[in-house]
């Protein structure tokens, strides 16, 4: 049986009257790419913020790599990397400066941070633009830098919150290849996206969230099988069937 790297039990979070996360439980196995899908406002980002220690849960337990987020957030932070949905970058600094800065913040020494920054830039196909100002980069390049920063400090678990929003197919494909490469190196990845084909292609298992709850969790194949022939139905069909066709704000 695969080793559980992250265990989430009965997680709750409310903002005033809004129950953003309402009793979420799931586990992610070591080396797995776990997809978290859901319409806007389903509670995905709130869940990721709680898992990545930046938002305190009202109730529930999160264990990552054997450490409790509540009791030992510091230890959890030392083994996670976060690639937020927004481009959390300093656009006035160069790509290298950005990466070295976040590397230093993750506790790396200067030379070590610089070496790993160059390595990650190479991985993202941006080694030639190391000294370029991020503000002048294209959307796809910024997305790749955003992901490269999350890799600083060699995390064991990576949170990728819609890492491919608004980029061209080439950049998206490059990011996919990198994510698959990272998985091969043993990284555990939690991946959220609105693109069903991405989840279908990348994720070992997929959880679908709606209304702050997980309404389905299985492999892509098994989820499809729930509504028809896996060869004929798509993940999007499953998603729409489970979450409905009404528009979300």
């Amino acid at each position: 049986m695969a080793e559980e790297f992250m265990v989430v039990k009965d997680l709750y979070k409310s903002f005033k009257d809004l129950k953003a996360v309402n009793g979420v439980s799931f586990s992610i196995y070591k080396g797995e790419i776990f997809g978290l899908l859901g319409p806007n406002g389903a509670g995905k980002t709130t869940t990721i913020r709680m898992l990545s220690t930046v938002l305190e849960a009202d109730k529930g337990e999160i264990i990552i790599g054997g450490h409790s987020v509540k009791k030992d957030a510091e230890a959890v932070r030392s083994i996670i990397g976060v690639c937020p949905q927004d481009l959390a970058l300093y656009e006035d600094l160069s790509a290298l400066d950005n990466m070295v800065f976040f590397g230093r913040m993750a506790g790396m020494e200067g030379k070590e941070a610089k070496a790993q920054a160059m390595e990650n830039l190479k991985l993202m196909g941006l080694e030639g633009r190391a000294k370029g100002k991020v503000g002048k980069f294209s959307g796809g390049m910024k997305r790749r830098i955003n992901l490269a920063i999350a890799l600083m400090g060699s995390p064991q678990l990576l949170f990728l919150d819609e890492p491919t929003v608004g980029i061209d197919p080439q950049s998206r494909n490059h990011i996919f290849e990198n994510i698959q490469g990272l998985q091969k190196k043993g990284l555990t990845i939690l991946y959220t996206t609105h693109y069903m084909e991405e989840a279908d292609r990348l994720c070992n298992r997929i959880a679908i969230m709606d209304g702050g709850q997980i309404i389905a969790l299985d492999t892509s194949y098994n989820l499809k099988k729930q509504i028809g022939s896996p060869e004929k139905v798509t993940l999007e069909d499953v998603f729409l069937k489970l979450t409905g066709r009404s528009l979300r704000d």
């Binding site: 220690t53 930046v54 959390a88 006035d92 600094l93 800065f101 976040f102 506790g107």
Partner: protein, 417 residues
């Protein structure tokens, strides 16, 4: 140690971003000097001419009265002998005409003795010196008040001494104990005092001293303009940086730092340190250029000027953090920064000296850190004050910094939601 390292790297990162932003560098450092050059040029020569204060005195007593001798003793005999800054004391022989001249606005003020002045002093009854002054003639009124105070104090002292002398003389039998003899002796002693032949050998019944701190020179407008604009732009630059803090909160870089083992306190400390260092760079440039190019005089206590400047930076950086915690969006942060800076600067005496304001406005201005800072700089650089005189301003800036800092620390959040 780890947290200090985080604070330092966050501050360094902010400074690096600042240095790479040419518009910011121009706006924070070059732009203020454009104002300084302009206003120094416009105000140059103000105070250069010797605007000697004229103090007019008159008496309603008949000749031979005590008041005549007092005025005679202190009137300016020859204006050419006066030192720069000394007032001219003029004896107006026609009390009514002088009083009318004050009412008509021809004279700034008048100190007048009442008709029963000598009689009242002799009998120990209360008497009043009259001061008429133009409501706007602040300096003349202050000077006349001061002379009236000196006269009344000196008369009171002399009267005590004379009364005691008379008692001794009566006790020893040198003077008969009847009131006529006592009055005569009192009159003689007072006259002796007025004529400068009083026991003790003083030259005159009334002396006064003007202490000039340093030489009176043509005023250097920069001595006022540079501290004023330093206060304004150090505060403005810090306040505007609140916008960047809100931006970092909105684009989740602060949250990303939090997820990278950086404590909330370290983030707060790093941002504060970066803003503080930028302010320090600003004041160093202000004073170095001020001294080398504008010939600014830091006064008798340069360390006090420096400490006051540093406290201004400490307070401004704390204000920036507080502003960032109160503003929800970048636009509101920018608007609040501009609004507070443009309101507080003139109210606090950055554009013109607050000691020229009416008293009620000066009292209102005390709610602004700017007023405390500029009054401290003005005391030190314009009025020859020493370190101790600037302590209230320093203390006030420290209190403002603490209040802003506590609010910032209490409300600071790394996330927009």
């Amino acid at each position: 140690m780890k947290h200090l390292t985080h604070i330092w790297f966050i501050a360094l990162k902010d400074l690096k971003i600042f240095a790479k932003d040419r518009a910011s560098v121009f706006f924070f450092i070059v732009f203020p000097f454009m104002f300084i050059v302009l206003f120094t040029f416009l105000l140059q020569g103000t105070g250069g001419e010797d605007n000697r204060v004229e103090l007019h005195m008159a008496t309603r007593e008949a000749s031979g009265g005590l008041s005549q001798q007092i005025i005679g003793a202190i009137v300016t005999p020859d204006e050419s002998l006066l030192k720069p800054g000394d007032p001219v004391i003029i004896w107006d022989k026609d009390y009514e005409a002088s009083r009318q001249a004050v009412i008509d606005g021809e004279l700034e003020g008048l100190l007048a003795f009442p008709a029963d002045f000598t009689q009242s002093v002799m009998t120990g009854e209360k008497t009043k010196l009259e001061i008429f002054s133009d409501a706007g003639a602040t300096y003349a009124r202050a000077a006349l008040n001061s002379i009236a105070g000196a006269i009344s104090s000196q008369i009171s002292t002399d009267k005590v001494v004379i009364d005691a002398s008379i008692s001794l003389l009566v006790g020893s039998g040198a003077i008969p104990a009847d009131s006529e003899s006592i009055d005569r002796a009192t009159q003689q002693l007072l006259n002796a005092a007025m004529s400068g032949a009083a026991p003790g050998g003083s030259d005159s019944f009334l002396t006064y001293k003007i202490v000039n701190v340093g030489d009176v020179e043509a005023g250097n407008a920069s001595d006022f303009v540079i501290p004023g604009y330093l206060v304004m732009f150090v505060f403005f630059a810090a306040a505007v940086s609140a916008q960047r803090i809100v931006w970092e909160r909105q684009n989740h870089t602060l949250e990303r730092l939090l997820a990278s083992s950086v404590k909330r306190e370290s983030i707060l400390g790093g941002i504060y340190t970066g803003t503080f260092i930028r302010g320090l760079i600003q004041i160093i440039i202000f004073w170095v250029v001020g001294i080398l190019v504008f010939n600014v005089d830091l006064g008798l206590s340069p360390p006090a000027v420096i400490i006051l400047s540093v406290l201004m930076v400490i307070m401004s950086a704390a204000f920036a953090l507080m502003l960032a915690t109160l503003a929800r969006t970048m636009r509101s942060a920018a608007s609040l920064a501009v609004l507070t800076s443009l309101l507080l600067a003139p109210l606090g005496g950055c554009w013109w000296p607050s000691f020229l304001y009416p008293e009620w406005l000066q009292n209102i201005a005390k709610i602004t850190p700017h007023a405390w800072a500029t009054s401290g700089f003005n005391k030190l650089m314009l009025f020859g004050a020493d370190f101790g005189d600037a302590l209230p301003s320093m203390l006030a800036l420290l209190v403002f910094a603490l209040i802003f800092g506590i609010i910032a620390a209490w409300r600071f959040r790394t996330s927009a939601t």
